[in-house]
């Protein structure tokens, strides 16, 4: 595959600026011009934005977009991120003015259609996750986690067990898990993985005790392995008065086949932008609804959407709620896309999606040359929607996961997640998703193997990778160094 990414030496907006230009003219006032009557010292002198016409702004951002790799550009098997195709129907549904132009404080009678979409979606997500009640409020997966652990905290407080101060988290977990638990005031206890890449049951037994407030788990875990002891783990935690939290980052593996709620999980967050096909937006917005078993429903954040006599409305009063967790009602524009996606799939579609995501992942793993990429843990156990290999065999010859990841970019492909999970040396975490044709999986494997061959024979040949990208390898140390750091364009020489 020959690939040359656009490589504009694109200037900063302010370097194009020329005084007096504008890219937008606001409408005239409807009445007379009024000056703010405030003391001079409260008034602003100048607005220091760049001055450009509409074409200049459009051209700038179009050029930037050409220097941005995306799912719509090519294969993007970034592990744990589920970069599946984002159907265009979703975009069309989400651009309806009836959604775009609705104000959050409009009377509920004027937005019943939006509320009915949200109500249905929350019920479907409850059904899919095996929970009883879903809140659509959280804005992202990590936000859902924070909400979840706050509920754990509130639950124990309500039961007079403020001494339950510890959250157990596997060492293979996403970094957001310990960060969320710590934000909610918990001490994080790390349970190591065993030789099979799963939670070490014996070690876990030693860590669980009266202080255990709960456990956060990702199933399948970040190695792509299903935690086969999950029922026993749930029982152990529950027997000790703890709650089980499910991190939904990897839910694409189990859609329609098994539900977290049936595995003993009490609280489940779902990543709408991963599992339910909404775009990742260059980093967001996502959405992270949280589902709970009925005994925890009182703790969910407010407001809550309820249906009374065929009318949908928001309810704010709830004695045990953890409270408000963001403004308004969630990332509605993201949620309506998931609504369209679920209507597209239907029940059987869920199962086909997860089955083919898992099949593709195992297929791609099988095609990789084991002399370059070794499989850590449980060699005979199938992976789920993602897998992790180690570039360790290449290290002695001068290769590394980093070199592999940079070389991949030169083929017009996105690299896997690298150096995560932390428990795997030289980790490459690959998640192809169900969206990629098998021919692309073959090509991806061929590219990785070819890179492995090159690194084995003459690693210096890839020293300058990536070279077909908008820029070559960047100096990240310099970017963060106190003497050279520049976080806005004020510090950069440029003409005004």
């Amino acid at each position: 595959m020959v690939y040359r990414q656009a490589a504009w030496d694109e200037k900063l907006l302010k370097e194009y600026s020329s005084k007096g230009r504008t890219g937008f003219v606001p409408p005239d006032p409807i009445g007379e011009e009024v000056e703010l009557s405030i003391p001079k010292e409260l008034k602003r002198d100048d607005v220091e934005l760049p001055s450009l016409t509409e074409l200049q702004v459009i051209r700038h951002f179009v050029r930037l977009s050409q220097m941005n790799y995306s799912v719509d550009t090519g294969m993007y098997p970034l592990g744990s991120c589920t970069m599946k195709y984002n159907p265009k129907l979703n975009e069309k549904i989400a651009s309806d003015p009836k959604i775009n132009d609705a104000h959050p404080y409009q009377h509920h009678s004027t937005v019943q259609g939006i509320l009915s979409i949200l109500f249905d979606l929350s019920n479907w997500l409850a059904e899919i996750s095996g929970t009883d009640k879903v809140s659509l409020l959280p804005a992202a997966g990590a936000h859902g986690e924070f909400v979840g652990v706050l509920m754990i905290r509130k639950y124990h407080q309500a039961n007079g067990r403020s001494d339950k101060t510890q959250i157990i988290i596997p060492d293979s977990a996403h970094g957001t898990n310990p960060a969320s638990a710590a934000m909610a005031g918990f001490d994080v206890v790390t349970v190591p993985s065993n030789a099979n890449g799963l939670v070490d049951m014996e070690k876990l037994k030693g860590l669980v005790g009266p202080k255990t407030a709960g456990m956060m788990m990702t199933v399948p875990n970040t190695l792509g392995l299903f935690e086969k002891d999950v029922l026993a783990i749930s029982k152990l935690i529950h027997d000790n008065g703890g709650l089980m939290y499910y991190d939904g980052a990897n839910m694409n593996a189990i859609l329609g086949r098994v539900r977290p709620g049936d595995l003993g999980f009490d609280i489940v967050h779902m990543n709408i932008h991963k599992t339910f096909s909404t775009p990742h937006g260059g980093g967001g917005p996502g959405s992270g609804p949280v589902g709970v078993k009925s005994f925890l429903a009182d703790y969910l954040p407010v407001p809550r959407l309820v249906k009374k006599e065929n009318t949908y409305t928001w309810v704010y009063d709830s004695p045990n709620t953890i409270g408000f967790i963001k403004g308004c009602y969630g990332n509605i524009g993201v949620l309506v896309r998931a609504f369209a996606y679920l209507l597209t799939l239907g029940p059987k579609g869920l199962l086909d999606v997860s089955s083919q995501a898992v099949l593709s992942s195992n297929y791609l793993m099988k095609k990789l040359d084991p002399t370059h990429y070794s499989l850590p843990f449980a060699k005979d156990v199938p992976r789920k929607h993602e897998f992790v290999v180690s570039a360790r065999p290449l290290v002695d010859k001068g290769g590394s996961a980093l070199k592999v990841s940079k070389a991949i970019l030169d083929y017009g492909l996105h690299s896997p997640t690298v150096y995560f999970p932390l428990i795997v040396n030289e980790a490459l975490m690959v998640e192809p998703s169900e969206s990629e044709p098998v021919e692309n999986l073959d090509e991806y494997a061929m590219v990785m193997n070819e890179i492995g061959d090159t690194l084995s024979r003459d690693p210096s040949r890839l020293d300058d990778a990536p070279k077909n990208t908008a820029v070559a390898s960047l100096d990240e140390a310099k970017a963060s160094h106190p003497l050279t750091i520049a976080l806005n364009w004020k510090k950069i020489a440029g003409k005004e």
């Binding site: 600026s17 132009d101 044709p437």
Partner: protein, 460 residues
Amino acid sequence: MKKYSHLLPNELKVEDMMKILGINKIESLYEDVPQQSLLKELPKIPGPFSQMEIERLTKNVLKNVSVHPDSPCFLGGGIWPHYIPPAVDAISSRSEFYTSYTPYQPEVSQGILQALFEYQSMICDLTHMDAANASMYDWATAAAEAARMAIRVTKRKDLLVAMNAGYERRRVIQTYLEPIASRILQIPYDKRTGRIDMKEADRLIKSADVAAVYVEQPNFFGAIETSIKEISELVHSRAGLLIVGVEPTSLGLLKPPGDYGADIVVGEGQPLGIPMNYGGPSLGIFAVKGDISFIRQMPGRIIGITTEKKSERKGYVMVLQSREQHIRREKATSNICTNQALMAVRAAAYMALLGPLGFRRLSQVITSNSHYTAKLIRETKEYEAPYFESEFYSDFTILPTTKKTRGRALYEYLTKRGVNAALPLDWFYEELKDVSMISVTEVHLKEDVNRLLNCLVEAE
């Protein structure tokens, strides 16, 4: 062919792929799942439907939703109706932007990185702060993270919050602070002006173990605060921090918070070219002033500029990642990962389009329209407008002087007349039972205002 076959390229390749794996059924890939937990029947959701059916079905569901301008919207308070230049949509619809993710591989992600760097830069230009992050979820969570940052940095426990700051912001701050050793003290507002009660502010700041003071400019009532500089001096004399919440379009006319002592600025980025979308996705603005050690305490992604390793060619990367959850885990400054990046790109495009002329003009038009509307309401002689005796920006309070229909009843009456207006402040302040809030921006035409006026007059 299934109704979703367009999304599954390998439907007819499943057998071949399984053969390569040496299996003959998909279930073989799930043998490690506790078999008793496997679903016996599929989840009960509707579908599948064709694309045409879904479009039709959704249109039908949304049929009775009434939005601006068919039902003129005079609601603000945290999310505002604004006109969005079509160029903003054109830019954010570039699927190279919206179908990418966090730029973990900077060499192929220069587009989003530079766009976010420029967003940060323009936020710094608007606020006169030193560094902005690449977005928080919204204003409320940005304010809450700012409060936590202030408590972490100062190692103090008291957060002073102006009662005339937005209700949802205050409530989210409360939720975020609950798990840490902290106390929230409320600074009352002056009953006549709606502005901060300076006597009480002075007393509280001097008596508290103050980590920070949180104030909004303009405040929730739309009134322009006149004493933040004094508050800044007071709180800094006590070695506490000043957090200011802003509505960004007002910064076309109002002094940037960086000029009156703000250490952290937060705000709602939705007015910067983001549709209201019934409240989300919006954009949390977060910017700080201070040295690198203070910047290091910020939550969220930050983009910086650098060069290629082997040349002076510039490029952009995520910086100071050692603050973040994927590196620092439980010691991270925040758990935020997925943020609102695409909304920040929209805001960047919007700010670039408006530029200094458009931005200032927009603030001026909003000011003129809101004052014109207030004047017309006042001239009915049936309302005080504004109720609070203060200069205001886009939002202002009204109080009926002759009507029985007031507060919630007025809001419901207007709704029935097809006008979404007069937010009842009783929702947020029990002492303001009869006071309502009107918000006016550049999206309002004379005919919209006339409809509002007619309804206000005809209310009994």
